[in-house]
Symmetry: C2
Subunit: 350 residues, 2 copies
């Protein structure tokens, strides 16, 4: 079976839901695997380009059906289906892809391979179904120290969907530009689709979350640095188990705290205000330091809702308040984050 990063004629399925709020997987695939995407499939937006819909992906065409695409090798479900269940017309598209022997890739909690109709169709057509979240992690963490020669940086967040994965990938790239042998450890379905590797940490059985994170990092210890994608938030009402297990499993020496400007409440929890950044820095540092001494060394600002002027003001304000570099990697690239991480590593290893 092909590895995820070997597909080069991918169709992204965002049928009926091509917007910024639900299209995280699609947007990141368009951003980081542009050359491997041959079309976006959304019959309601047919004739536009990816850039029209998502402000990334350039001229990648938006098509109305698979008939318009030649030699496609994979159909990637690019969004969570509205309402959680696969709509009827999605089922039809997936079955068409299967009949063409395309591999269908899904990051949903409900596995394609558990759907009798898809499974039988795939078997009969000789097509593959890849459920990114499927895993059989079944070992607990050992707690054994990592190699001294592998510096671990972890992106942590004020909330879900603030840009931890994007900051991780951009930071890795900025480190590589400086000649650092840096790896990106993906822990969510989008990161795994981009990098072709990783662990869907939110779908691991609770007893094995710390262990799965530990093994992921262990498998990348040959890198001089590993940037580990964070998940959720340590104070999130629903996902804190994932966040803390990942934090303790990867035992980072440095953290980058990510947030989105103008967000006031936990996403989807309108009665739960976000914790202030200074509280979160204190909590993340206390909780990480029970494994190894660990500091938040920079702030990843997602300023997509701000004007350029508002962005400058926000950046200055937060940087002054926290005494840390603040950077929006989409506007500025991740150079200042890479500088902060490298400077911190120099200081603690002297």
């Amino acid at each position: 079976m092909k590895r995820l990063d070997e597909f080069a004629r991918i169709v992204l399925l965002t049928e009926g839901a091509s917007n910024h709020f639900v299209g995280k997987t699609a947007i990141c695939m368009l951003r980081y695997r542009t050359d491997d995407i041959c079309a976006v499939l959304d019959s309601e937006e047919q004739g536009k380009t990816a850039n029209d819909l998502f402000h990334v992906g350039g001229a990648v065409p938006v098509v109305g059906s698979l008939d318009e695409v030649e030699n496609a090798d994979a159909l990637v479900i690019g969004i969570a289906p509205p309402g959680g269940k696969l709509p009827a017309n999605w089922r039809h598209i997936i079955l068409t892809a299967i009949s063409r022997k395309m591999t269908v890739v899904s990051g949903l909690h409900d596995f394609l391979a558990n759907d009798d109709e898809f499974r039988i169709a795939a078997k009969s057509a000789g097509a593959n179904l890849i459920d990114i979240r499927r895993n059989d992690e079944n070992r607990t963490a050992t707690g054994e120290p990592f190699s001294q020669d592998c510096f671990r940086v972890h992106t942590v967040g004020q909330d879900c969907s603030v840009g931890k994965m994007v900051v991780s990938v951009e930071l890795q790239r900025a480190l590589i530009k400086r000649g650092i042998n840096a790896g990106f450890a993906a822990t969510g379905q989008t990161g795994i689709m981009i990098s072709g590797n990783g662990i869907p940490i939110d779908c691991v059985v609770a007893d094995f979350v710390n262990g799965a994170a530990e093994r992921l990092v262990r498998s990348m210890e040959h890198h001089e640095m590993v940037v580990i994608e964070g998940q959720g938030c340590i104070t999130h009402p629903a996902y804190s188990a994932v966040t803390l297990g990942l934090l303790h499993g990867c035992a980072p020496q440095a953290m980058v705290l990510c947030y989105e400007a103008k967000r006031t409440h936990v996403k989807g929890f309108s009665d739960t205000p976000l914790q202030p950044l200074e509280n979160l820095i204190s909590l993340y540092e206390q909780m990480a330091t029970v494994r190894v001494p660990s500091k938040v060394v920079a702030i990843g600002l997602n300023s997509r809702l701000l004007s350029e002027e508002e962005f400058r003001a926000e950046k200055d304000r937060v940087s002054n308040e926290l005494g840390l570099p603040v950077c929006d990697v989409i506007r500025e690239g991740a150079d200042s984050l890479a500088d902060a991480v490298l400077e911190y590593r120099r200081n603690i290893t002297q």
Copy 2:
């Protein structure tokens, strides 16, 4: 199918491993369901009593085979198998129980029902297999507040296996003695076997841990108080994901911190010293308070390794240092814990 608390002629399987370190499930079943246990099965200790082996369970006989027991209705696997895999002679005992139509109850991570030989034998004999850890929890937490009329107490720990479940059960009983309508929310296999209800929280998929804990408490909101059994430790290298998801899901107003005297390192992690109790109080209170204001109101001391004199000294020392009541529920009963919880509830609801 019978509920777990309806079996009344239970055989506890501890074959070849009847000691205090591995027999947690067996010991707690003997302590809290004495009248429902008709035998302990360990051919190496045949002829002794439960009290000889475990210092609980009185005259319950230790037998060498199921042939010596009449009308047994369930075989409960009372320990984790040495080495993690079921030894060959255990398989034989389980198959014998199945052939007698006994229900076989297991709290192991490897499910009996996934074992072809057991599944086929059970089907053919008409016997039931109960895997306590099996669950299909698949909803995330809502974060919605619990009823104001249901006070939530959570036992938290310095480590695994320090006595959180025993403290929870004893506290519930002491509260009931005072006329409080108190429930016990079991979150581990032994607690579930004792109470007949609960959620095996360490075996829930990570994204749903907080949600499973929330729903467990929600199902018990008709109680005036619920004592929620804790798991692991918030700083545990391997199990902190479970601990924090449970803490945030049940959103306790009061906590009882449990520890075992003379333990210096995390159980099974000889290089990891335990966090001092004062650090843990601070971390648990900070992390719990992001959901609702929450305090550690008492300390549950497991003094099984101490003499009576050492116990008195330890109790005085820790109580003075932390300014909290300290109680070993096995030596003293849980009256002082119940007093501390009730006084705290009075203070915050005035």
